[in-house]
Symmetry: C2
Subunit: 134 residues, 2 copies
Amino acid sequence: MKHIETTQFGTHYILDGYGANPEILKDTTSLKAMLTTLVTEMHMHAISDTIVVEVGEKNTKDPGGVSGFVMIAESHISFHTFPKRGFVTIDVYTCQNDLDTDTLTQKFTENFSLKDIDVQVIKRGTKYPTENLY
Amino acid sequence: MKHIETTQFGTHYILDGYGANPEILKDTTSLKAMLTTLVTEMHMHAISDTIVVEVGEKNTKDPGGVSGFVMIAESHISFHTFPKRGFVTIDVYTCQNDLDTDTLTQKFTENFSLKDIDVQVIKRGTKYPTENLY
């Protein structure tokens, strides 16, 4: 098998936020606008509609909230909010290895009025071939 | 501030797969069926349509492929394929903390004929409140 040159495919930014403003977390119209604005501000390119749906209560662990998603040429952005718990969980996955994660953290913290956050930045596809194989 | 009991919100399964069969990676119809079947087999519940779109070549790093997404009551599943590189990158994010990650790995490895994989399983929302705050 011939040697394949590889590189890192992308960066996956993960934020779990606590103590959020519940009014923000349940406002589907504002959440949709926030997601659309974020795509533009981060110089990404949407390739699907921005989908934002209300999700009903499921059980004692999951009292419902709002889920959002947009597919971008660079990969995807998603969030799930739980207004009754003040919790929001966010993914920004992009093939931009120079993703400005500090700006993302600042924007999300401000937009959701978060009191506490856990951020993880994960390397994705570390053995991605630099050239076409097929 | 009163003490808040917390628990782990969910589990995020990440698979980056290499050496995949390029014919599988470009077959939008089969990919859509695979995603729909997976939701059922993993006892998840779709709350959006399964979206599968072809994505054109963007630059030398990204020669295009197919992206798929479905929002589930339990969170979301997404994939992005790059047939010319034999690469697929998958996320399964669920509030089921007992997610059967071994079964997922087996299914994805078989379905895409993967030769090499990197799997990461990430704890999400480790400070998720067990009860409603609002």
